[in-house]
Subunit: 364 residues, 4 copies
C-alpha cells in the first residue's frame, strides 16, 4: 500500500544513521553539553549568521510548548491562525501550560498585519488576555509558504505593536527550498525565535530552537528541563544536526527533494483534471469526488483533510524519501479512482468515511 | 449621566444589607461552616428539589474557573459558544487552569445538538483535547434565554455522548423570570451543575454553585480552597443567599423586575424605530447609526458591543434597581440621538469610537 | 462555648458596616473603578508614603496566588519557611499556578539571610527551579513578628541576590502594632510587595495589595481578572478599606486591640504556670498536658497545632473583638483543665485526639 | 579524565544501534503505531505477565510529568521522599503541571508505611492537597534498592488508604538485578504503574511506561500528546525496546553488568579504608576528606552529593559500559587522593568547592 500520510513515515536519512554509529563510542557530558551538540548548535548559529542561542529538542509539540511556555507570562496569549498546528493538533498543549491561543480565522492559513490588528482590537483591556506574540508555521499547515516580503511585513507590524514572532519550522527546509533561501532569511525577516525542523526532514527526531531576540532567551534550559525536553544523551540530537548542517548542505537538499516530489505529484494531479489547491512546498491538498477519495483509500494511505462542497479534500505529503516511481504510482491510482467515480458528491447527511486507514495517525 | 453599562453597578438590595447588619454579631465558624451558609445552602437545595450539593462562592469568573477546573481532567476541554463569557471576557481564566475551550461559532449565541456534534467531529483522537462537557450561560451573553425544551434537548444530547452540562447562571434569575420558572426547572432539564447568580441580582457579591451530578461533586471544597474561593467569613455569602431565598421569593422577584425594565426599554426603542435585536431577559442589544451611538455616549454609559454593517450595536442592561423613569429618560436620549443623526454608517476604515466612557468596564 | 479558633470568627467592625450601608446607594463603575475603591487605594498609598500601586482583593489565599502567579515566570519558584501559610494551608494553590515553593525548615518560623543562602545553594542550575523571590508572613504563622531590623536585613540580602520580597500581611495590623509602627515601615524595610490584611482585622473580607517594586506591577489587573479576583462590585472592598484608613486610624487601632487581648491572655497563662511559647502579636501558642488540652476542648474551641514531647501545643487567637471578660473566662477554663490534669503526657503511640471541635476550620 | 558522573554518558549499546540500522528502511505509521513499537510493548507486557498497557516515551522527567499529570486531579498531590528525583532534580516539572509534591524527610531515601501515615496525618481536610498516590524510585536516588517485601508492604499499605503507587524505574534494571528478579516482581508487589528505564540502561533514549491499575490507564495517549511525549517516529523507541527485550535478556544483563562494576568499585573503596555508604545497585556514595575529594576531582568527573560532618560525600556511578580496568583506575586515583590528604575536614564556613568539573551535569 502506498503511504502519503506524512513526512515522518520514514526512518532517518542514511547519512544521519552513519553519523550516529560513528559517534556512538566514548563518554560525553549529558543534557546537551556533549561535543556533538556544541558542534551542531555552532553550525546552525553560523547559518543563521546573527547572534543567537541554539538549543536542541526532540519533537515539534514539545518544542512549541516549551518555547511558548517560556516566552509568555501567565496573563499573556499567543496569536495564531485558526488552522495553526498548536490550535488543532496538539491536544491543548499550549493551554496546558496555562496560556490561551488567540485564534484568528484566515482565508489562506497565513496571518497578515490586518488579521493581527483584528485580534488586537478584540483584546484591549484586562478582561481578555494580553496578546504578547505571534505563532506561525513556515511552511503553513495547509501547504502555503510565506514569502520573504510577507514574513518581513508581518514581523515589522508585530514589532511595532510590541509583539514577538515565533515560527514553527517543522517544515522549514521545504519552505526555504521553495523560496530558494537559507536560514539567514528567517532572521533577516525579523523573526524573533524559530525552530529548524529535523524530524520531518531526515532526522529520527529533533528540532533545533533558534532564539534571536535577546528578551526571549532567558533561562531557556530551565524551561527545557521543566518540560521534560532536555535529553539526557544529547548526542542523539547533536550528531544528527551536526550532520544535517555539515558542509554538504544536506538539510537544505532534503527539503528540495521533498518539494520536487510534491511538484511532480501536483503536475500529475493537474494532468488528471484535479489540480491541487496548494502545493507550495511538500504538502499537496486536492479535492476529489467523495467516491473517488473512498476508492483511493483502498490503495493509498493519506489524511482526509476536510469535506468540501463538491467532494473530499485529501492531503498527500511527500518527503525527502519519496521517489519518482512512487509518485507516478500514486498518480495512476488517482486516475483510476477518478475514472470509476460518478463524480457526484455524497448528499449531505450521509456518512462519507473513507476507511480507517485513511485517518490513522492524525498528528499532521 | 445615565448608566446602563451592566447589572452590577448598584450596591446590594436593601433587604440584604439589613440582613447583613442583623447577622453581624456573634462568632461563627469560618469557611462556609457558619449557620447562615448552612441555612442558605439548605434553602437553595430545597428550591432545587433534588439531591445536590450547594457551595457559596464570591464571583462569576471565580466560580467558572473553580467549577471547570474541578470537573475537567488535564487532557479534557469544555465546549462553549464562541460568544461565551469564559471565551471572551475572563482573561484566559480557564486556560490558566490548563484547559482548552472548544469554541463553536453560533448563529445566536446558543448551543444546540447539531453544533455540539460539529465540535465532537473535530475531536476524534488524542491529537485534540477530549471534550468532556458543555458550558453555557442562561441567559446567554447576547441576550437570549434557552427555553426548557432547548435546554432539555441539549442536556439529553450531551448525556448521550458522555458530556456533562454546566450552566453559568450569572443572569439565571432574569432567565427563569422570562420562562416563568423556578430553580427546579434547571435540574429538570438535566443540567449537571450550575450556579445561582447573586452579584447581578441584588447581592453585593456571591454565586451559589449547585452540583447535581454526583460525579462532579468530589472534593469540591478542596477546589474552592485551591482557587482562593473559600471565603474566610462565609457569613457574608450565607446571609445574603439566605435572604434571597427566604420565604418572599426575593431572588425571583428581582429577576422579574430587571426584565420588566428591559421590556419597557425594548418597547421604547421600537417606538423610536430601532427595535432591539434581542431582549429576552434583562439585556437589550440595539443597532444605531454610528453617529447616533456616538452622540448617545455623551449622555449615557453603555457598552459598544460590535460594529455592524449599518451601524454600531450597543448593549443596554437593566437591573432590579432600574426604575421606569430612568428607562424613559434613556428612551428620550435615544430619540434625540437618532433625530440628530444623518443615518449613515461611517465608511469602513474611519474611526468609530464612541468615547472612553462608553467602553469603561468591559467585564460584561 | 468560647471560641479562640481564629481572627475571622466575627463579622465586620460596626463602623465598616455603617459605611457599607451609607455607600450602598447610587451607581458605580464595576471592577474596582468605583469612587470608594479609588479613595481607599489613595489612602493606603498615602500611608505607604512611596510611589506604589494598590489593588483590592477579597481573601488571603486568593491574594497570595494572584500575586505569586503574577510575579513568577514558569520556571521560577518562591522561597518560604516550611511553616508558611502558602506551604501548609492553601491546598497547593501556588503549585496550581504552576510554581514550586522552595521550602526551608526554620527554627522559629522566620526566614533570615543564612536560611535564604541555604536555599540558594541547593538551586544552582537548570535542574532545579530558579528561586526568584521570598514569601514571608508578618506576623508569622507561628506567632512571631519580624523586627524592622530583621526585615530590613532580609530584604537587603534578598535584593543583593536578585530576589524580591513579598509579605503576606493577613495579620499585618497586629504586627505593626507590636512594633509601634505604621505602613511606611514595611516599605522602609525594603519590601517589594505586600498586602494589608482586612479580613482578620475588622473587615467582612478584603486584602489590599501594595506593589512597590516597579518590576512587579505590570498588568496586575489582568492577573486579578484571570484568577477570579477582580470583584464586580468593587465598592464592597473600597468602602471597607476607605473606612479602615480614614482619619481615625481604625485599622491600626484594631490591631492593637487584638494584641492587648493576647497579652492579657499570655499573662494569665503564665499565671497558670503554662507560659506561652510565642505571643508577639495576637496569636498565643501554649503547650498543655494532653489531658488538659482534651478537657479544655470541651469548653473552648481552638486549634491543636502540634503534638510535642511533653504535651499538646494549642493555638489561641484573639481579635479586635475579643473582650477582657472573655479572655478571663478562657484563663479560668485553662486553670480548671490544668488542675484536673495528671500532668503526664500520653505515651507515644496512643491516640491523643482532642475532639472534633478542636480541629474545626483548619484554615489558620 | 575518568568519568563516573552518571549512567547516561555512553551512547547506545551496540546491539541497539545495529537494530536501529536494520529497522531504518520502509515506511511506518507515526506516533507509536509502527510495527516495532507494537512488538516492543507486547514483549514488555509479556515480561510483566499481567494485563497492562505499555507506552514508549523519550526521557525520565518527561515520563514522570506525563504520568503524574495524568494520574492526579487538580487538587491532588503525590507523596515522595524529600530526596526524590521529582522533588530535587526536575525543575519543578510536577508543579508545572499544577500539582504539589508532598515531601517526606526519610532516613534512607526510602518510603515506608509509617512515613506515609505521617504525611497523611498532615493532610486531613480541604486546607491541604489530597494525597492521591506515592512516587518512589527503584533503585532510589541515593543508591538503595527496595526489597520485594518492602515494596509489597508499602503497596499494600498505600492501597488500604486509597493511594496508588508509581515507580520511577530509570534504574530498574540494576535494581532488579540486585534482587535477582524480573519485571513480574514489580507487579507482584502491587505497583500500580511504573516505567522501565532505557536511557540509563543501554538505549539512546526511551522509557517504557507500564500501566497496571486500570483506573490509571484512561486516555493515556492524550496525556502523552499534550505533554509533547508522543514521538512522531515511534520506531526510534520501538526498535530499541524490542531489542532490549528480545530473547537474550539484554535489558536484564545490562543492569547486572552495571551492578558488577559498582560492586568491584565498592570493594576497592573499602580496601582504601573508605567503605561506601550505599552501593546496592549501580550508584556508589562515599565520603572522603574534603581535600581528597578536591584532589580526586582533578582526575575524575563525579557529582558532589553533599557536604557531611567529616568530609564530602561524592557519587560514583557505573553503567553497563564501565569496564573493570576503568574501575581499577578510579580506585587507584582514590587511593592516591587519600594518601595525599591531611584527613581533616574543612572547618565549617570555609568554601569547599571541588572544581567546576565535579558539578557538571547535575541531572543525576
Amino acid at each position: 500500500m502506498l503511504m502519503f500520510l506524512d513526512d515522518y513515515s520514514e526512518g532517518a536519512h542514511p547519512a544521519l544513521l552513519e553519523a550516529l554509529v560513528a559517534g556512538n563510542g566514548g563518554q560525553e557530558l549529558g543534557y546537551g553539553k556533549d561535543q556533538y551538540s556544541r558542534l551542531a548548535t555552532a553550525r546552525i548559529a553560523a547559518q543563521v549568521g546573527r547572534d543567537c542561542e541554539v538549543h536542541l529538542l526532540v519533537g515539534g509539540t514539545q518544542t512549541n510548548l516549551t518555547c511558548l511556555g517560556a516566552f509568555l507570562r501567565s496573563h499573556e496569549g499567543v496569536i495564531a491562525a485558526q488552522t495553526a498546528h498548536i490550535n488543532v493538533h496538539e491536544t491543548g498543549a499550549i493551554e496546558a501550560t496555562g496560556h490561551r491561543i488567540v485564534q484568528i480565522p484566515t482565508p489562506t492559513g497565513k496571518l497578515d498585519p490586518g488579521l493581527v490588528d483584528q485580534a488586537l482590537a478584540q483584546h484591549e483591556d484586562e478582561h481578555s488576555v494580553r496578546p504578547a506574540g505571534i505563532f506561525l508555521a513556515q511552511a503553513t499547515e495547509v501547504g502555503g509558504v510565506y514569502t520573504g516580503e510577507e514574513l518581513g511585513a508581518l514581523c515589522a507590524h508585530a514589532h511595532a505593536r510590541g509583539l514577538w514572532v515565533y515560527v514553527d519550522g517543522a517544515r522549514l527546509a521545504p519552505a526555504l527550498a521553495a523560496l530558494g533561501a537559507r536560514l539567514d532569511l528567517v532572521v533577516a525577516c525579523g523573526v524573533d525565535a524559530f525552530f529548524v525542523g529535523g524530524t520531518k526532514n531526515g532526522a529520527l527526531c529533533g528540532e533545533a530552537v533558534v532564539l534571536v531576540n535577546d528578551g526571549l532567551r532567558r533561562d531557556f534550559r530551565y524551561h527545557m528541563k521543566q518540560r521534560g525536553a532536555l535529553l539526557a544523551k544529547g548526542r542523539l540530537l547533536g550528531i544528527q544536526f551536526a550532520r544535517l548542517f555539515d558542509g554538504d548542505d544536506l538539510w537544505y537538499r532534503l527539503g528540495a527533494q521533498a518539494n520536487a516530489a510534491a511538484a511532480r505529484l501536483a503536475r500529475g494531479l493537474s494532468g488528471c483534471g484535479v489540480p491541487p489547491r496548494a502545493a507550495e512546498a511538500n504538502q499537496v491538498f486536492v479535492e476529489l469526488p467523495d467516491d473517488a477519495a473512498t476508492r483511493l483509500a483502498t490503495a493509498v494511505r493519506f489524511h482526509v483533510w476536510s469535506h468540501g462542497e463538491r467532494g473530499t479534500v485529501i492531503r498527500l505529503v511527500c518527503s525527502w524519501a519519496t521517489d519518482e516511481a512512487t509518485v507516478d504510482r500514486l498518480i495512476d491510482e488517482v486516475r483510476g479512482a477518478l475514472a470509476a467515480s460518478t463524480g457526484t458528491a455524497t448528499p449531505p447527511g450521509e456518512v462519507r468515511e473513507t476507511g480507517g486507514t485513511a485517518r490513522a495517525g492524525s498528528g499532521a
